[in-house]
């Protein structure tokens, strides 16, 4: 514990990084959802129907009309020169065509180089055109003798009542911040443990460590792991505070989440210790830790699902504990399942844990025995 406290690196990783990065990420997504995305309209019809469509666009909480195009505007370069993310182009003779019973199209050009905007605008465009189209259909059907209810039910014969569960308002803060914090938690715990043993070789304190531990590799590992676990637990509590600070709900699963997080950090501590016991070179072990951990987020299927990746990528993802932790975390934190539902993920995490424990123990045991042999030989 004294070593952890006295190391500048550990202070950076365990104190400054979480404090600065976790809060910064939280503030970035504090708004949670995008509102009033600037859009432009190009009304070539100028009728009551086109004005109704424009009213619908402006009434949507997701969009705000900030520009009206005229024939002078260059549509091909519009998005390069303007901040608006979509153009709703209402064609000439729209109303006339609708009255004559001729289908017409409202063209919606979206600047989809950002998919977050692209998806919202796509959804809104279909919703608005669907609503206006249904309204026009209802009027025609009523004119043909149907009652208002019949006309409505024929205009929308099958209604899909979408019920988003677990994050019903599609809040980006609830979605992204927990994921980002947990992947950084993995990196932090892995990094600090990566230098726990080999730094003793470098600093020349390994012999003292062996002496304190009574020459037992297991004692060294348990002692080191416990001290890192203790500080890691502090980080878990900090994450809980960040959740509460930003009002992120966790389905009253506090105890289950604490258990899962504790197990997760233990896995990462032992993976770090395994590396540290195996490689004497601190920089090399840190390089490996960095290359192993930094793509964990994208490989976990968090933002882009595993089933959309090529086979080898999905295979590689299985060798990162974060992938399995994330499944379990989502089950508890967002879905709110009972603890028993995360057994499969805990089982996989256990494989990581015991493999890392055994390898670390073996490497350390061989090293201690080797050192003892060398000492005996030199004494003899």
């Amino acid at each position: 514990m004294a070593l952890i406290g006295s190391s500048k690196s550990n202070r950076n990783l365990l104190l400054i990084v979480p404090l600065v990065v976790f809060l910064l990420l939280g503030f970035i997504y504090q708004k949670g959802a995008l509102r009033e995305i600037p859009v432009a309209v190009f009304d070539e019809d100028h009728t009551t129907l086109s004005r109704t469509i424009i009213q619908f666009i402006d009434a949507s909480p997701a969009m705000k009309i900030t520009y009206s195009l005229s024939s002078q505007d260059d549509l091909t370069k519009f998005f390069l020169q303007h901040d608006e993310r979509a153009i709703f182009r209402i064609p000439r003779n729209l109303m006339n065509d609708v009255i004559k019973g001729k289908a017409s199209r409202v063209q919606v050009l979206t600047n989809s180089n950002n998919i977050v905007f692209g998806n919202i605008l796509l959804r809104e465009a279909y919703m608005i055109s669907g609503t206006v189209s249904a309204g026009a259909s209802i009027q025609r059907l009523q004119a043909e003798g149907l009652t208002e209810k019949q006309a409505f039910n024929l205009a929308l014969p099958i209604r899909v009542n979408s019920k988003p569960l677990f994050n019903p308002i599609y809040n980006y803060l609830y979605y992204l911040l927990p994921g980002l914090m947990t992947v950084l938690l993995q990196m932090i715990m892995f990094f600090v443990a990566t230098r726990a043993i080999n730094s003793e070789f470098v600093n020349g304190s390994f012999d003292d460590l062996v002496e304190i531990s009574g020459g037992s590799a297991l004692n060294i590992l348990v002692g080191k792991a416990l001290s890192y676990f203790f500080v890691g637990f502090g980080l878990i509590m900090f994450i809980a505070i960040v959740f509460m600070f930003f009002g992120i709900p966790f389905k009253e699963k506090e105890m289950e989440l604490i258990l899962l997080f504790s197990y997760f950090i233990l896995v990462n501590i032992f993976l770090g210790l395994m590396l540290s016991a195996t490689l004497d070179d601190e920089i090399m072990s840190l390089d490996i830790a960095f290359f192993y951990n930094s793509p964990a987020f994208v490989f976990s299927g968090f933002t882009f699902p595993l089933f959309g990746m090529p086979f080898f990528d999905t295979l590689y993802a299985q060798f990162i504990p974060y992938t399995h932790f994330l499944h379990a975390f989502f089950k508890l934190y967002q879905v709110g399942t009972p603890f028993s539902y995360i057994k499969p993920e805990l089982f996989v995490l256990s494989i990581f844990l015991f493999t890392a424990m055994f390898t670390a123990w073996l490497a350390l045991h061989i090293r201690i025995k080797g050192d003892q042999k060398v000492k005996q030989l030199s004494l003899a």
């Binding site: 019973g101 024929l154 990196m187 959309g308």
Partner: protein, 396 residues
């Protein structure tokens, strides 16, 4: 001739240093290409299909079965089976086996035929946005098509000829055209930003480590005091990286982007110039940060945690305007912000100089600020070292 030889030795000096230090070697030589292809491969298909969903059919009618067949035929979604009831559907969601399930209620067909309004419920697992959005879109699209078919039958039955009926079924349609990302795909959106982030982070970490190591080993102070001063050190340090990362820019534009079918739509000269200015700015940032940390390992540890914040604060995925004002100020201080804006306009949207003047000026200002900061910082280190040397000589 002599000057030319000097420059060549400056260049080879840093090259030797990179080769000698496996960490820097790994970061600036191997990582950029490895990461580009390794991480890029995740999004190779760019979009997702075969999203798992299930059906609870309480109606068990011909219509509900026909609609399920229509859903099954949609390549975006994959029917994993019929379920007994709502609770089994919830279980599937609990186990994250399905991204959603559809419930046809009792009397669905009857309500539909009597024009009494038929409703189906689609329960979505929104723990991840991409698959749930796509499933929602796919189901709605199939049901809209089915609804159009019903109206078509009604109009034909009421004396309209099929062509007239076709015109009447959807009086107004939305013709949505996602520009610059025609498939509205996640890969098409993320990959260009990811590639620049890879270049930025490997350069920042590699050069930052190299400067920290110079500080740790006293090389920085000795070059500043005896070896020709700040300009000499800066040139000495960055010349090799300028060459290497200029080559990367060309390689990424000529090979990596086309390999992943990402268009390089804009003019080449502004694209290269602004990318180079960006990398020079990152180099100054690396030198500045590195000059404060006199331990290579610590430097790596710190910079490893800048990747996510730099990317997320840049406004590439979440608009800067949606962030709180103090965070917006920080965002404008990060070179990633103007670079990714310029990259979008040049590479993806096919713009030219006039379209990226704003981000170019922004980058130029950041370059200027960082240059002054580096000169002040190295000047201070140089003066301090000289003072220490004189004190040491005096005390002797």
């Amino acid at each position: 001739m002599g000057k030319g030889r000097n420059k060549a030795s400056v260049f080879t000096n840093e090259l030797k240093r990179v080769i000698d230090d496996h960490s820097i070697l790994l970061t600036v030589i191997i990582a950029p290409l490895l990461y580009a292809f390794f991480l890029g491969s995740i999004y190779y298909k760019k979009d997702i299909d075969q999203i798992n969903f299930a059906v609870v059919d309480y109606d068990n009618s011909m219509t509900s079965r026909k609609l399920t067949q229509l859903l099954k035929a949609n390549p975006k979604i994959n029917l994993i089976g019929y379920l007994e009831d709502y609770h089994e559907g919830v279980e599937k969601l609990y186990h994250l086996e399905a991204k959603g399930f559809l419930v046809f209620p009792h009397g669905f067909e009857k309500d539909l035929f009597r024009l009494e309004g038929a409703e189906i419920a689609l329960y979505l697992n929104t723990t991840r946005f991409l698959p749930s959005n796509d499933l929602n879109k796919a189901v709605n699209s199939v049901m809209m098509t089915a609804g159009s078919g019903i109206r078509l039958k009604y109009f034909v039955a009421n004396g309209k000829n099929p062509q007239q009926a076709m015109e009447l079924i959807n009086p107004i349609l939305a013709d949505v055209r996602p520009i610059y990302n025609p498939l509205n795909s996640y890969g098409g959106f993320l990959l260009p930003g990811l590639f620049f982030l890879i270049l930025q982070q490997t350069l920042l970490i590699g050069l930052g480590e190299s400067v920290s190591r110079d500080k740790e080993k006293g090389i920085l102070n000795s070059v500043l005091v005896e070896g020709g001063g700040i300009a000499h050190y800066l040139f000495n340090k960055t010349a090799y990286y300028i060459f290497l990362y200029s080559a990367y820019i060309v390689l990424f534009m000529a090979v990596v982007f086309p390999f992943f079918e990402i268009p390089v739509a804009g003019a080449i000269i502004p694209s290269f110039t602004i990318s180079l200015l960006f990398l020079l700015t990152i180099m100054l940032l690396a030198v500045l940060v590195g000059s404060y940390v006199n331990n290579q390992i610590r430097m790596m540890e710190i910079l490893a945690f800048t990747t996510y914040p730099f990317f997320l604060i840049s406004g590439y995925s979440w608009p800067v305007s949606a962030m709180p004002e103090p965070i917006q100020w920080i965002s404008y201080l990060v070179p990633t912000t103007p670079m990714l804006e310029a990259m979008s306009k040049l590479f993806i949207m096919g713009g030219g100089w006039t379209d990226v003047l704003g981000p170019f000026q922004h980058l130029l200002i950041l370059f200027g600020i960082l240059y002054v900061a580096v000169v002040v910082r190295l000047g201070w280190l140089s003066r301090r070292s000289k003072a220490q040397v004189s004190l040491h000589t005096f005390s002797r």
